[in-house]
Every structure is written in C-alpha cells, then in structure tokens.
C-alpha cells in the first residue's frame, strides 16, 4: 500500500519536503501507515507474553503471505527458488510453534495436590491433569 501510494504521490526531493506531508494525505499511504502501526502494536503485545525467539520466526510468515499475494492476487511469477524459501520459512515457523512460547524463569516447584485443591480446583480437575486456564 505504501509503495502504491508513493508511486501515486510522485518523487519527493529534499528541497520540497512539503511533498512528504502531501504523501501522507494520500489514502493508500495513510492506510499503509495505520497498518504498520497495527503491526507494531501487535508485535509489542506478543512480546509481552512470548519469547523474542518465538515471536520473530512467527512474524516472518509475513514474507510468505506477501509472496502468495504476489502470486495469486497480482499474478506475478514466483520462481522455484522462492517457493523453496516459502517452504523453509513455513518449516521454521512449524518447528518453533511446536515448543513452549515463553521461557519459564520460575524455579519454584509446582504446587502440591493439597495446595491446588485449596486454590479452588476440584479433586476431579486435579486428578484429570489440572485446571485449564
């Protein structure tokens, strides 16, 4: 969207910086900026509850999505080498998604059965493997 909008806005030179403000008023550029802000907010949200080495590979799915949009919406040619790239990224994301999202730094032992029952879990929940949160 940013690329499409900037092509519409035309060249911007250092001597005519007001062109940047006009470019921001272009609806494509404005929507592109809003989407970038949404990405950043989502990225920050994910980092608040998951490890960086979990979140970063997951964000790379954006490259895959971009290539698929280029192929099926824009009808661009995607070379076999790029399909291999898509496969490698998907495989990498699959690998990391199978593991835990957050490194536990809590070294306290898990609560005993009596403590968990005291916390409100019923005996049946404790026996069946714990309360799902």
């Amino acid at each position: 969207m940013l690329s499409h909008g900037m092509k519409q806005a035309g060249n911007i030179s250092l001597h005519h910086l007001q062109g940047v403000i006009l470019a921001v008023l272009n609806p494509w550029v404005a929507v592109g900026i809003v989407l970038l802000l949404a990405f950043f907010a989502s990225y920050m949200n994910a980092l608040s509850w998951a490890d960086l080495t979990y979140v970063l590979p997951a964000t790379s799915l954006g490259y895959v999505l971009l290539a698929l949009v280029a192929k099926f919406a824009l009808h661009e040619e995607v070379s076999p080498l790029r399909w291999l790239g898509i496969a490698l990224i998907s495989g990498g994301v699959g690998f990391v998604a199978g593991g835990p999202a957050l490194t536990s730094h809590d070294h306290t032992p898990p609560p005993s059965r009596e403590e968990r029952e005291k916390d409100g879990a019923t005996t049946e929940e404790v026996v069946s493997g714990g309360v799902q949160r």
Partner: protein, 126 residues
Amino acid sequence: MKSAYTWGGILVIVFASVVGDILLARAMKQVGDVHALWRRAGLWTVVARILGNSNFLLGVGAMAVAFFSLLFALSWGDVSLVAPAAASLTFIGNAFAAKIFLHEKVDRRRWIAAVLVAAGVALLAG
C-alpha cells in the same frame, strides 16, 4: 572498497536491529502481559507504562538507527544483497542475543527454526 562499505552498512543494520529487538523485548517483559494489564487498568495505563519505559524508547531509537543505516547501505550496494543479508543475519543474531541477554531457552528446535527462517528469507528477498 564499495563492497566494504556495503558489508559495513549491513553489519550496522544487523547490530542496530538486534539491539532494538532485545531492548523492545526486555521492555515488554517489564511491562508485563498487555492484555491482562489492559483489562485491569485500562488502555491509557498500558500506553503510559510502555512509553515511560526507558528500554522501549532506546529500542525505538535503535530501530530508527537500523532504518537509516538501511537507507545508507542501499545507496552503496544492491537491494538484492542488502535486504536478504540484513534480514537473515538479524534472525541469527537475535537468537544469540536473546540467549545471552534475555536468558531465553534457545533449544535445538529454536536454533533450527532461526536457521530455516534465515535461509528462507534470504531466498525470498534475494
């Protein structure tokens, strides 16, 4: 000589990106689970706590350095080299830095993921 400038630029991009990612990740761990905090204290408390975190501000600064370094590097080298090299090396650098500075448990599964994604990005962006 131009090649040395290009690779120097790529290394600056990777370094600044990794520093930025590490600082942002540390800031968000200090802020805590955003969803829970939002429900408990409201959106403005979340925004104020994030913007008031010095690691967050330094992280955004490092990201800005990475962005402008990218512009410089693109003026020295081809985009088909700079973009994939910087993106791939950032993935690998982040895995090392997260293990050292954030004490994340980067097990074999995550190393394989980092290498696969780095290779995939290099192929896609190249």
